[in-house]
């Protein structure tokens, strides 16, 4: 059975049909990309699957369980992680704390024990700090281990979000334009990072505009246009699809 199944998913914002009758499925361990022109509904699709928006109609199943309409924190309990196109970093915290927050569900969050400085909590926290440092090294942020989030450059923050998502030890990770706003060198680094993440066993769903990166990394690609599914298949299949070419390059007059 596929890890993630989306059936006939739609969302309407008043008169705007941001996503219309989209269906696809993703197997565990895959790297799956969602591409399309700006405004095609890619981030909206992400928001639907990760609980930020409620669908107007249609179904989303994770491991057979229907998750459409569940809140983001409920989805987090089911091993779904994501990064944001426009960065959602807690600027009021340090870099490493941002990563540690990712492990929220794996820790004892009891208020009373926390207030009394229960030894098990303190110990677990120390362990987590080491783990978070490891994750920061994994994503290439060793230079920022002692930094505050508000002092870090844009590219570093994008990777910090990935580290935070990984701290959740997720099954499925949604990366929303991880290379947006990065220069060519940084883009290559992100490309390698995404490969590392996929190799570690996490299922990766990627929204990206950088075609080289998409073709390099993904096993299957979903093409969206105006909220509708335009095509789906391997990189080679999609590249040769006339509808896709028309949408991206325009039709020959």
């Amino acid at each position: 059975m596929a890890l993630l199944e989306v059936n006939d998913l739609s969302i309407h914002f008043g008169g705007v049909k941001a996503v219309q009758n989209v269906s696809f499925s993703i197997d565990a361990g895959m790297v799956y990309a969602v591409i399309g022109p700006n405004g095609a509904g890619k981030t909206t699709l992400f928001n639907l699957i990760t609980g930020v928006y409620k669908p107007t109609s249609g179904e989303i199943r994770l491991d057979g369980e229907s998750i459409g309409g569940k809140s983001p924190n409920e989805l987090a309990t089911r091993g779904v992680a994501r990064t944001f196109q426009n960065l959602q970093i807690c600027m009021n915290m340090s870099a490493i704390e941002n990563v540690m927050v990712g492990a929220h569900l794996r820790l004892d969050r009891n208020l009373l024990k926390a207030a009394l400085r229960w030894p098990s909590i303190a110990r677990r926290d120390a362990e987590l700090r080491l783990e978070a440092a490891e994750l920061m090294r994994f994503v290439g942020l060793e230079a920022f281990l002692d930094s505050r989030a508000d002092s870090m450059p844009y590219g570093a923050l994008k990777r910090l979000e990935i580290a935070r998502a990984l701290a959740m030890k997720p099954r499925l990770i949604f990366l929303d334009e991880p290379a947006a706003g990065l220069n060519p060198k940084e883009t290559i680094e992100v490309d390698e990072l995404v490969r590392k993440v996929a190799d570690s066993g996490v299922t990766v769903v990627l929204v990206e505009h950088d075609m080289k990166m998409v073709m390099n990394l993904s096993e299957r690609i979903l093409v969206l246009d105006y909220g509708r599914k335009l095509a789906e298949g391997t990189g080679a299949e999609v590249r040769q699809n006339p509808d896709v070419i028309a949408a991206y390059l325009g039709v020959q007059a």
Binding site: R82, V101, D108, R109, A114, L116
Partner: protein
């Protein structure tokens, strides 16, 4: 964060141990006790406003609940004061829980309005139910006995309050550096981000609101016993604003800032005692100037300055 945050706690405890012996007379001891009481309230309020990024413009209402619980229940119903204090805290917590759930789904102004409304309703109720509460003139409070010792002198109360303050500071520091505390700060930093890592945002907001309400109620009870008398002014809008001012001045999201804010703004009315109208102007001016020039508050701003100097 290489410096140990608990270092400040040792300084606070040291100061508290020494104070009663260096204070010149009972007027100043009274002032110090009031400062310490306010400090505990502000610590709780700061968790809500500074760390979790929410707001409460009616917190004095919870103070009133605690104060009047421990005045009314023993006087009219014969309850033991300690039970009354606990009942007050439970009532405040319950009220906070009921009101918070629907409200924290909203944001910003709506939350401010709702907490404001709650505080005002509590104040008016205390003023009106004169049969129980003594109305606008207030009522006396029966003395409290703990473990056989009747707490009546200033010295007794000083040590009780000093203990409460030390424990509160310690607990606050613990909380902030715990998973719970991190989730709280993440909530303030980015609600969406905290949601996607699994933080049940509404539940956390409610929890911290209830916690700060309970803190306030407990200290309201302490104030009632210490002063020996309660009036509805304890629960009025201006008092709620004073508390928010203390949080804001000292430093939002700063434990030690809460202490500084409480100390400064408990002393200020004393300094301006003869200039009643000017007291209002001063408070207003301080609020404005602070928020315009030092939005993070005194302690964090100074800390950042000295941090840069290093």
């Amino acid at each position: 964060m290489t410096k140990n945050p608990y270092f400040g706690l040792f300084i606070v405890i040291a100061i508290l141990l020494v104070l009663p012996f260096i204070v010149p007379n009972s007027f100043y001891l009274d002032l110090v006790i009031r400062m310490a009481i306010n400090a505990v309230i502000v610590l709780g309020l700061n968790l809500l406003i500074g760390f979790a990024g929410q707001i409460s413009l009616g917190h004095a209402g919870f103070l009133g609940i605690g104060a009047y619980a421990t005045a009314v229940l023993p006087t009219h119903f014969g309850w033991h004061p300690v039970l009354a204090v606990m009942a007050g805290a439970a009532a405040a917590g319950l009220l906070a829980a009921i009101v918070a759930r629907p409200i924290f789904k909203l944001k910003g102004h709506y939350l401010a309005m709702a907490t404001l409304g709650l505080g005002i309703i509590i104040n008016i109720t205390l003023r009106n139910e004169a049969a129980w509460t003594g109305g606008p003139d207030g009522m006396p409070v029966l003395p409290m006995a703990l473990l056989g010792v009747e707490l009546s002198s200033d010295k007794h109360w000083y040590w009780v309050v000093a203990l409460l303050l030390s424990v509160s500071v310690w607990a606050s520091l613990n909380l902030i550096n715990s998973p719970f505390g991190r989730a709280l700060r993440a909530l303030h930093g980015s609600e969406v981000a905290s949601q996607v890592v699994g933080v049940d945002v509404v539940r956390y907001k409610v929890a911290i609101f209830v916690l700060s309400a309970v803190f306030a109620s407990l200290m309201g009870s302490v104030t009632a016993h210490y002063v020996g008398f309660v009036t509805p002014n304890l629960a009025d809008f201006f008092h709620s604003i004073e508390l928010v001012t203390m949080v804001v001045i000292g430093g939002m999201a700063s434990v030690y800032g809460s202490l500084v804010g409480a100390v400064l703004l408990t002393a200020l009315p004393q300094a301006l005692a003869t200039f009643e109208g000017w007291e209002t102007v001063a408070f207003g001016a301080i609020l404005m100037l602070c928020m315009i020039f030092m939005p993070k508050g005194l302690v964090p701003t100074l800390a950042a300055r000295f941090g840069k100097a290093n």
